[in-house]
């Protein structure tokens, strides 16, 4: 059997399981998620509250309100969501060499916009949710912190 056919069948199987859980009457979103854990279906909840299941198909739109999504996501972030700060930390010398003296926006582990002034940067990032904003000084910062090693 081709891998694409196998994947399709697995997704269909998981969607059938989701339907069965829904039909069984889970009392709350939390109970629904616990059931998914019990039967081994990997999942996460997007910032908008959409339930995603592996192979990351939409399991249920408007699954929880955004406030509850923030609480759930603090324990289980999206698996494909980059840690922008970690990426910036690890790539700082290169980023400073290329974008020194500019504001930058980092999203999914890449610089998606750069501009010498912040209003210009804001105009460029309108379609992105939660990009990391920072200013990259042109010259190296003189460190005076106690955590130097």
């Amino acid at each position: 059997m081709k891998s694409s056919t196998r994947a399709y069948n697995q997704v269909q199987s998981q969607k059938t399981i989701l339907s069965l859980i829904s039909a069984s009457g889970a009392k709350s979103p939390q109970e629904f998620l616990e059931t998914l854990d019990k039967i081994g279906i990997e999942w996460y909840v997007t910032e908008k509250g959409t339930l995603m299941i592996k192979y990351w198909q939409i399991g249920a739109e408007d699954f929880v309100p955004s406030e509850q999504a923030a609480v759930i996501r603090s324990d289980r972030p999206s698996p494909d969501q980059g840690d922008e700060l970690d990426w910036l930390s690890k790539n700082l010398p290169n980023v400073r060499g290329r974008y020194g003296g500019q504001w930058v926006a980092v999203y999914n582990n890449e610089i998606i916009a750069a501009a010498p002034d912040l209003p210009d940067l804001i105009r460029q990032i309108g379609g992105f949710d939660r990009p990391l904003i920072s200013f990259i000084p042109a010259e190296p910062v003189v460190w005076t912190f106690t955590y130097a090693s």
């Binding site: 970690d86 010398p93 804001i122 949710d129 904003i133 910062v141």
Partner: protein, 146 residues
């Protein structure tokens, strides 16, 4: 003494500007700012127990929907560098899974740093959490239900 349990970790991030330069580790918190235009941006703030109020660089004012950095309530405050003037506002932040309306100072004296644009201070924010600090592992631990 009560037992303290911590469910989350505040990471330290390495700031090395030169591949051969010194390594500096900073406790940084990814904070989501909900802008007046209802969009969301992520700002990195230095976890600073010495800061009484969360403080952002003054030149971030356009993100806050302000025409200038000095429209808020004028406040004289003491810092490590001496007495300075800041301007006070209230904004909504998402921190560690909680949404909090908290005071924010805009300050023109904060130095540039590529990995953070302000200081996460105690006022209102710290009331919501409990913190534990382990220097040996470069980690801060926190609980959202102290």
């Amino acid at each position: 003494m009560p037992v303290k349990n911590f469910e989350q970790v505040v990471r330290f991030y390495e700031a090395r500007q030169d591949p051969n330069g010194p390594s500096v580790w900073l406790p940084l918190v990814d904070v989501t700012l909900i802008t007046p235009a209802n969009s969301r941006v992520s700002l990195s703030l230095l976890f600073d127990t010495g800061a009484s109020v969360t403080t952002l660089r003054a030149d971030l004012y356009p993100i806050l929907g302000l025409q200038s950095w000095d429209q808020g309530v004028r406040v004289e405050t003491d810092t490590a560098g001496g007495r300075t003037t800041v301007y006070r506002y209230t904004y909504t932040l998402e921190i560690f899974g909680k949404t909090i309306d908290c005071p924010i100072h805009l300050a023109s004296q904060l130095p540039f740093h590529p990995l953070f644009v302000g200081l996460l201070g105690r006022d209102t924010v710290f009331n919501e959490f409990g913190f534990g600090f382990w220097e040996s592992t470069h980690e801060l631990y926190l609980t959202p239900s102290p």
